[in-house]
């Protein structure tokens, strides 16, 4: 694989096939944990770690996994690596672990992890697979972070609340001052749907504008990319 292929993988995870706003996969953590930036980034990075490691492991083992039982083996790999991340966070980032609570084990059930193994790591070499897992994870993390920022800012008037659990001594930012009354709806689950809807709309608008521009300047310097085999429409 050349550099161009790696760039395409990264671009897929970040934008073209972004798990959060294009594939709309893994919504349980996306909606549940994004009440603040710190929660969102922490869970996002845990997901990146699990996705990169499980893609790597599955890719390395892909020639030894009998086709008939590949799904149980993939789930086993994901569950084992999530347990490793869970134990490590419990040991070394304990106060953060207390906040993220049940959501770390739930990475196992995040369908984006299995989806990337089945769609990518099972057919590709280890390096590309690791990159794919990390890029998809980072794409999800980006969406989580923006969602967390929107909800925390509108709902609570702060940014980075809880940062002292990750960086001792750091302080949250009171954006609107201490008197901000708060907007509870945005902290509660409905706010997650409103914010996610806005994000999807924003991404679609940017993409539509980009395509319109590409059409109005017909002689494109590069041939259009071949259809991505992994870009199945989300159900």
């Amino acid at each position: 694989m050349d550099l161009r292929a790696y760039r395409d993988i990264a671009w897929n995870g970040w934008w073209k096939q972004n798990p959060g706003v294009v594939q709309i996969l893994g919504m349980c953590p996306t909606l549940a944990i994004t009440t603040s930036i710190v929660n969102a980034v922490s869970l996002g990075l845990a997901t990146v770690l699990v996705m990169a490691m499980s893609n790597l492991a599955s890719s390395l083992l892909r020639n030894f996994i009998p086709y008939e039982i590949r799904i149980p083996v993939f789930i086993l790999i994901i569950a084992a690596l999530t347990t490793v991340v869970d134990l490590a966070m419990n040991a070394y980032l304990h106060s953060l672990y207390l906040v993220l609570g049940i959501f770390i084990p739930l990475i196992v059930t995040n369908c984006i992890v299995l989806a990337r193994i089945e769609a990518f790591a099972a057919k590709n070499e280890p390096l590309a697979s690791t990159l794919d897992g990390a890029a998809m994870g980072l794409g999800a993390t980006m969406v989580l972070t923006v969602l967390g920022a929107m909800r925390e800012l509108i709902g609570n008037g702060t940014l980075f609340s809880g940062i002292e659990m990750v960086i001792p001594g750091a302080h949250e930012i009171q954006v609107f001052g201490g008197d901000y009354p708060g907007f509870l709806t945005f902290i509660l689950p409905p706010g997650a749907f409103f914010a996610l809807g806005c994000l999807i709309a924003g991404r679609n608008w940017l993409e539509a504008r980009r395509q319109a521009r590409a059409r109005s300047n017909p002689p494109a310097p590069q041939a259009p990319a071949a259809p991505d085999p992994t870009s199945a429409e989300p159900a």
Partner: protein, 219 residues
Amino acid sequence: MSQPTILGLSTRTAGAMMAFTAAFTALMAFTYEATHEQIAASANDEKMKLVTEVLASDAYDNTLLDDYVQLGPTRELGLDHGGRVYRARKAGAPAGLLLEATAPDGYSGNIELIVAIRPDGTVNGVRVVAHRETPGLGDYIDPKKDKDKKSPWIGQFAGLSPAAQPLDAWKVKKDGGQINSHAGATISARAVTNAVARAARYAGANRERLFGAATGASL
């Protein structure tokens, strides 16, 4: 190549599955071995952090978390499944009791508390250990979520003493007491206030028994 028999196929795949299971279980076991001491230490640190907030570390000189009595289900403390009382001592003399207590009547289920009571019955401090009160509304009972960082709501309990104020008067203002609560979110404050009053009454009535019991004893 002949068609594999069902038995042959299942033996082969079961073997592979077994091998993968063994390998990844070993990975998990190794990680557990490598982290479990650190996890226990972190959990202990976390508990001590909370303890330090309700009882200054120079107020006692024993190993607080090791000096406890185990309570069975105790209605006065709202403990349906029992809990612990930690005993602070300084030079052997009683320096305070740390009671685990539960307020069963929060807006959204149980609110778990830790209440520190001095030997004379005065409340030294209260902290919320776990709760599910509405974010941004009732969660000011937890000083980490309280917008008023200088004098958080829960600080009102420190120094409350049954000698100066009869326990029956430990109530939120809405109920005729003197504990402030935020408008529109009285239920959370009332639940905590009543639980603190119950804990103080329990500690007063059982002081000798709690301090006298052997370490680790079940009452």
